[in-house]
């Protein structure tokens, strides 16, 4: 394996090549003292380089045993069986849940975008509350992380939605477990508020630093099941001089979020704004942050106005059909739309 493929910085790589270490074997043959002398780095850096090299060499060596399967993969059959038990977070709107196949999927990154005022933050808050629905009631019993970049998080509204959610749950338990008093709802709106971890970021560097830190945070708080970023666009839109830098930063951030979602089995929901784009002679509304960003989510839902009604449309998904469903924003949160002519449109 070449030196070019070790994850070390370009300057160290240049020093290694200039000193004559062109192959992995040549690095493995020396010791840290020789490395320190030859390429003029500190002891700890030399040790780090040796560790990378040894690890890559171990990959080469481990081919002695049964070599058919490389570590880290899963067969499609195993993944299919796992998916049957996968966790879904309801949106409290039945039509929307139906087109989503039950709700927002854990292990996936979902992007939700729309014009201002369509209800993106409302959906975000509703999901942060719904993830905490206990397992007895078909929820996940988890906690939520809410990353606020715009300052649109209103605690009073969260309290309102939390109270409505608890009322719905007690109504449900009253309905189905009339005889069994032990099923009384033991949740209090304050406990719902306690389980939402709120972060406020004020610049794009803070946002990137926070995404890097989330790995450690979620490992310490293992119950977190959803991360909501509202909105992921805000700090990247105004006054960003270097567009190439922006593409790189966004690409890296999206890979980190994908990794978080997959490895820690949680749902990542990114809320995005809209912009106009000149396509085929006309101006159309598309989600912001450009073409490269449009590939950084697993599913994409676009919210739009249809007359007087709010609709959600599945724009991108590997397994869901393109469909749109109406929903409404009420004082109790996101609920089914109450218009008389509502039906789910399959596109």
């Amino acid at each position: 394996m070449e030196i070019g493929m070790l994850p070390i910085s370009a300057s160290k790589r240049g020093k290694l090549l200039a000193a004559g270490y062109t192959t992995l074997h040549s690095i493995l043959r020396t010791s840290t003292t020789h490395l320190v002398r030859d390429i003029e780095v500190s002891e700890s850096e030399a040790l780090e380089i040796l560790n990378f090299a040894t690890r890559s060499n171990d990959l080469d060596k481990s081919s002695g045993s049964n070599t058919n399967v490389i570590d880290g993969g899963q067969t499609a059959w195993d993944m299919l069986n796992e998916e049957r038990f996968s966790s879904l977070i309801t949106t409290s709107c039945l039509d929307l849940d139906n087109i989503l196949g039950g709700g927002i999927n854990c292990k996936e990154v979902t992007e939700i975008g729309g014009v201002p005022g369509i209800g993106k933050t409302q959906i975000g808050i509703q999901l942060a509350v719904n993830v905490q629905i206990p397992l007895d009631y078909g929820g996940l019993g988890g906690k939520a992380i809410y990353i606020d970049t715009e300052g649109s998080f209103m605690v009073e509204r969260v309290l309102q939605i939390a109270e409505a959610c608890i009322e719905d749950m007690s109504e449900y338990s009253h309905h189905f477990h009339k005889d069994n008093q032990a099923f009384g709802v033991k949740m209090h709106p304050n406990s719902i508020l306690e389980n939402i971890f709120y972060f406020r970021v004020c610049s794009y560097t803070e946002q990137i630093a926070l995404v890097n830190y989330l790995d450690k945070f979620v490992t310490e708080h293992k119950d977190v099941k959803i991360i909501i970023i509202d909105s992921v666009t805000f700090h990247f839109r105004q006054d960003f001089d270097d567009m190439a830098l922006r593409t790189r930063l966004l690409g890296e951030m999206s890979l980190k979020l994908m990794k978080l979602a997959k490895n820690l089995s949680l749902a990542v929901v990114m809320l995005n704004q809209v912009t106009t784009k000149h396509i085929e002679g006309s101006f159309q509304l598309t989600l912001a942050l450009g073409d490269s960003w449009s590939h950084s989510c697993t599913n994409r839902i676009i919210l739009y106005w249809n007359g007087d009604e709010r609709h959600a449309y599945i724009d991108k998904s590997p397994s869901l059909k393109s469909a749109s469903a109406p929903y409404s924003v009420t004082s109790r949160g996101i609920r089914n739309s109450t218009s008389s002519s509502k039906r789910i449109k399959m596109v």
Binding site: G4, T22, R29, L59, L80, E108, R248, D291
Partner: protein
């Protein structure tokens, strides 16, 4: 390139005398040696005191260089190899198969380019299901958590006579899905590690004669390679660019030496005149053997596929398909 003194440990002929001799001709590294006129070097060595040893040193260097290049093949050997080893795998979609001249060709790197939700992942999933149904195994590198086993099971069920889900069909589906292995990859270095491990596994299998066709990987899919490379491209220095090109070489080497068909996906970016163009830049253009452009008619189920580059088909040829979004 390596300076000569790094070779002195392994090859005792290249000792300090030899190095001093080379230094007198301004040869300090292997690169200088290769650029130098060898006849003149031999003549100058003959005039030296220990000319025999110096000539042996020059021969030693030449031997080292010779050992490092792959074998030279002639046209007849290449055609024999193509007939025997380089099969074609159908993707399951007739429109795409027609454009590809039968399907994904072993030994070639095929690239799918298209805007978001144009069907690239669907083609990858459909190809996986078709290849696995034909009893070959697939390695799927997924960078966007888009690998959907349900969708693959749907494709399997759609294009055969499965009507009811009884026990035998269940076993059949399990056998098919067991041949597709998915690796979540979120880092370009992770991808390199994986591909190197694959290369070593395949090389060791060549020496063991127990190569069952069931276990040997025939198709490698990377969805999408552009999301791994975009974060490192055009950053500080040419390192990202070098990694992109070496990943292309590695994939093509795997394809040719180990008889694998490789499929990668790429996205589009806005071009200078407003028309979208494939991402990853000018240098990447020459890396894949075949490039197809996908697009989807506004909110309909029809997808358009056209050839950007193909070694044997006219570019601009196009086809449509309605199977991808149903």
């Amino acid at each position: 390139m390596a300076p000569l003194n790094s070779l002195s440990k392994e090859y005792p002929l290249i000792d300090s005398n030899f190095q001093t001799f080379c230094a007198s001709h301004a040869i300090y590294s292997v690169e200088d040696f290769l650029l130098h006129d060898l006849d003149a070097l031999f003549a100058s060595a003959a005039n030296h005191s220990n000319s025999e040893r110096l000539k042996q040193g020059i021969h030693q260097l030449l031997l080292i260089v010779d050992a490092l290049h792959p074998p030279v093949l002639n046209g007849l050997q290449l055609i024999e190899d193509a007939k025997r080893n380089k099969h074609v795998f159908s993707t399951g979609c007739e429109g795409i198969d027609a454009l590809l001249g039968g399907g994904l060709r072993v030994g070639q790197l095929t690239e799918l380019v298209g805007p978001s939700s144009s069907g690239k992942t669907q083609v990858c999933l459909m190809s996986s299901s078709t290849v696995a149904k034909n009893k070959c195994s697939v390695i799927y590198l997924d960078t966007g958590n888009s690998f959907s086993p349900q969708r693959i099971a749907y494709f399997v069920g759609q294009s055969s006579d499965y009507v009811s889900v009884n026990q035998a069909d269940h076993r059949l589906l399990q056998n098919i899905l067991d041949r597709i292995i998915c690796y979540p990859v979120f880092d370009v270095y992770q991808m390199f590690d994986l591909l190197h491990q694959l290369k070593i596994n395949l090389r060791s299998q060549v020496f063991i004669d127990i190569v069952k066709s069931d276990h040997q990987v025939q198709v490698l899919i990377v969805d999408s390679i552009s999301s791994l490379i975009t974060p490192i491209l055009r950053g500080n220095g040419p390192q990202g660019h070098a990694l992109m090109i070496s990943s292309g070489f590695l994939l093509k080497q795997l394809a040719h030496e180990h008889n694998i068909a490789v499929l990668v996906t790429n996205h589009v970016v806005g071009g200078d005149d407003g028309n979208p163009k494939p991402a990853l830049g000018e240098s990447w253009k020459s890396v894949p053997h075949v490039r197809l452009l996908l697009s989807r008619d506004c909110r309909s189920n029809v997808s358009n596929i056209s050839i950007i580059k193909h070694p044997a088909m006219a570019s601009g040829r196009s086809a449509t398909s309605t199977r991808l979004f149903v």
